[in-house]
């Protein structure tokens, strides 16, 4: 059994929370006391049934206003998979929360209201999916019950969406007609849409293969911590602890340390009481190297045959996440895996109107703005381009005056 992380884009009006509530409800993931709390709540659907959307509204303000403000994480599991849902708000003023939720997802569910079809919000959400490099997309045409389960309505919406998917270069797009409210094609195949021959949403999520598209072969491990017991019997022990971001390291592999450029070979790989021959993407291990190498937190061990980009000038997409606008005259901190260094946003190349996808020249960058910038870093980062290696092609900007995370960066080109 493995884990699928997905996020849902859409607003409450599209039935996003209802869809998640339905997935949880129909997979028996709601427990009796939660259900009891739900039933005793004042919010009900028009027909008196339980409003499943309440399940995902965690904060008092969200329940009061009936909207999602922040990312909520929900968990359920079937015999085939464990699922982690990042439930994100859909309104434009919460774009940064959606970017946050999308950053860890392997798959996106985009909700389209069958009555309205592809609208401005659909374009915005799909743009964010492509920006964040999520390769798998499921477009759920929701509220099919409100359009008499019409195949024509469904077909015309997906034809329109296909143009958008092509424009955004989305790799793997799938379409499912659903009614979250009534439960059509969520867990069970719908009896109301004989014309739909595909799978229900849950069955699709259970079997979608996210490995082949998402994995980079470039072997990278940022060093988080150096283990040095300094006891008598372990006097010379130096283990470099970290999580393999991508690719595979094997014992005897030639490796290079970035940024120093020092080279070595892997002596031993250690994981608690085991000494495996190889360490793979996703694993947290300890690596021992031959010879004397000077390595500390913030350095990255990479395979010597595939080095990272070597530059302090990076072209990147930036999503601004702070109430205080970007100031190109001040120094920010950039955090890239275990490395933090100073940086400046030296130039704004353009801003994107995320509702129309048009690019504009811009002097300022405010909350939720997205566009292309040039970053100048104080130290060299051991980075890859986001499209080549998502795990090593991203970073955050931190404002050292407030310590807040103010920007999300996706590296697009080395300059």
């Amino acid at each position: 059994m493995n884990i699928l992380k997905f996020f849902t884009a859409g607003s409450v009006d599209d039935g996003k929370s209802t869809l998640i509530g339905r997935l949880l409800y129909d997979t028996d993931s709601i427990l009796a006391d939660q259900l009891e709390a739900l039933q005793s709540s004042n919010r009900k659907n028009d027909d008196g049934s339980i409003d499943l959307a309440i399940l995902t509204d965690g904060l008092r303000a969200e329940r009061e206003q009936g909207i999602t403000i922040d990312v909520a994480y929900k968990y359920f599991q079937t015999e085939k998979r464990k699922f982690i849902i990042a439930d994100t708000p859909g309104h434009i003023q919460y774009t940064r929360n959606m970017v946050t939720g999308a950053s860890t997802a392997n798959l996106a569910i985009i909700l389209v209201d069958a009555r309205n079809g592809v609208v401005e919000q659909t374009i915005r959400h799909s743009y964010l999916v492509s920006l964040l490099g999520i390769k798998h997309v499921v477009v759920c045409i929701n509220k099919m019950d409100m359009v008499n389960y019409s195949e024509d309505v469904y077909s015309s919406i997906i034809n329109k969406y296909k143009d958008l998917a092509k424009q955004l270069k989305l790799a793997d797009v799938n379409y499912i007609p659903v009614s979250a409210l009534k439960g059509d094609n969520i867990v069970q195949n719908s009896v109301n849409m004989d014309w739909y021959k595909g799978e229900s949403l849950l069955h699709f999520l259970e079997k979608v293969d996210t490995d082949n598209l998402d994995k980079s072969q470039l072997a990278r491990m940022p060093v988080q911590w150096v283990i040095r017991p300094q006891t008598d019997e372990l006097h010379d022990y130096r283990g470099y602890a970290g999580r393999v971001l991508s690719g595979t390291f094997k014992v005897n592999d030639n490796v290079t340390i970035i940024p120093s450029g020092a080279t070595s070979t892997i002596k031993r790989i250690e994981f608690f009481d085991q000494f495996p021959d190889a360490a793979h993407a996703g694993q947290s291990v300890t690596i021992h190297l031959n010879g004397d190498v000077d390595i500390s937190r913030g350095d990255t061990i990479v395979n010597a045959s595939a080095l990272t980009q070597d530059t302090k000038l990076i072209e990147a997409d930036l999503c601004w996440m702070d109430g205080r606008a970007l100031d190109t005259s001040i120094t920010y901190l950039i955090q890239h895996n275990s490395k933090t260094t100073k940086c400046k946003v030296s130039e704004i190349l353009h801003k994107v109107d995320i509702n129309t996808l048009e690019k504009h020249d811009a002097d300022e960058f405010k909350l939720n703005d997205i566009g292309r910038v040039i970053i100048k870093t104080a130290d060299t980062l051991a980075f890859d381009l986001y499209d080549d290696n998502r795990a090593n092609g991203s970073a955050i900007l931190v404002d050292s005056r407030t310590n807040l995370t103010v920007g999300a960066l996706m590296f697009r080109a080395a300059m």
């Binding site: 884990i3 929900k74 929360n97 911590w225 999580r243 955050i396 995370t405």
Partner: protein, 301 residues
């Protein structure tokens, strides 16, 4: 997974180890909050995997309400001895003696809420800048929205509307002096995941997690262990039941469930079939719909 076996427990474990090592790398004086419950016991195993054969870069901190199950305290002391790490105890009784908090009165009196003050005082006394805790997002709806690195102001308060965006696997632990960060490495684990992990790793647990005979009373529809810490009166009828505990907290707020589960396998089947969530056995969450959110805003774990 194609060429190597890396299942969901391996992935959760690797993520938690990564988070623990980030704590070690980013903070000067971190601490691991240890309650004696299964979640913090799991954290200790994860810390062993993150840092052995080195020492933990943090002490264990137990906020002791003084109303513990003796089994938990015995377990704690044996475990600390086995792993050879430092234990700091912050005592609610001391906070009461110092006049910092006042013991609640009445039938539902509990020291659970008093813990917050003792916790904040302990953080201040030792100048901890990060506290690792075993909270999980599946436990409760406010927790479902909390970050893995959750910044608290100098009063220990959580502000759900001003949370930092947390992107990819990058955790921003930068804080001003006086603030601290609560860190939740097993945020993405469910109760069942924790039990499956405990089974896989053959981790020993305090005996109260398993079925045993105990004197109990009924309080607000739940079974509570009869103890001097409950304000019992003539209306409370003590009877003996075969029970176990699903969470381990203060004796005055942790309810027992009827259970015959004596092995971890039994517990896992019981949970898989159960229709009551884990925190359903916690009286402290039942006060209102936003009980946890309010306590977190006040500085709770």
């Amino acid at each position: 997974m194609s060429e190597y076996n890396f299942d969901y427990l391996d992935e959760l474990e690797a993520e938690a180890i990564h988070i623990l090592r980030e704590v070690a790398g980013q903070f000067e004086k971190p601490a691991l909050l240890f309650s004696g419950g299964k979640d913090s016991i799991t954290l200790v195993r994860l810390a062993e995997k993150a840092f052995r054969p080195g020492k933990f870069p943090f002490p264990l901190v137990h906020i002791d309400t003084g109303h513990n199950f003796q089994e938990t305290i015995d377990y704690r002391d044996q475990m600390v001895e086995r792993i050879g790490e430092r234990l700091i105890v912050g005592s609610v009784q001391d906070s009461i003696n110092d006049g910092k908090v006042v013991e609640q009165t009445g039938k539902n009196a509990s020291r659970n809420s008093l813990q917050t003050i003792t916790l904040l005082d302990t953080i201040a006394k030792y100048e901890f800048d990060a506290c690792i805790g075993g909270a999980r997002r599946d436990e409760e709806k406010a927790r479902a929205k909390e970050r893995i690195f959750s910044v608290r102001d100098e009063f220990g308060q959580w502000d759900p509307k001003r949370q930092r965006p947390e992107l990819w696997n990058i955790y921003n632990g930068r804080i001003h002096k006086g603030e601290n960060v609560r860190i939740f490495p097993i945020s993405n684990w469910t109760e069942l995941d924790v039990w499956n992990y405990i089974r896989r790793e053959k981790i020993e647990l305090p005996s109260i997690y398993f079925s045993h005979k105990r004197d109990v009373i009924t309080r607000n529809g739940q079974l509570m262990a009869a103890s001097p810490f409950l304000n019992m009166d003539n209306e409370d009828i003590v009877f003996n039941k075969q029970v176990r505990f699903r969470t381990v907290g203060d004796m005055s707020c942790t309810a027992a469930v009827e259970s015959e589960a004596v092995l971890i396998d039994d517990i896992i089947s019981e949970i898989s079939a159960s229709k009551i969530s884990e925190r359903g056995a916690r009286l402290d969450d039942k006060v209102s719909e936003a009980a946890m959110e309010d306590r977190k805003k006040g500085g709770y774990f």
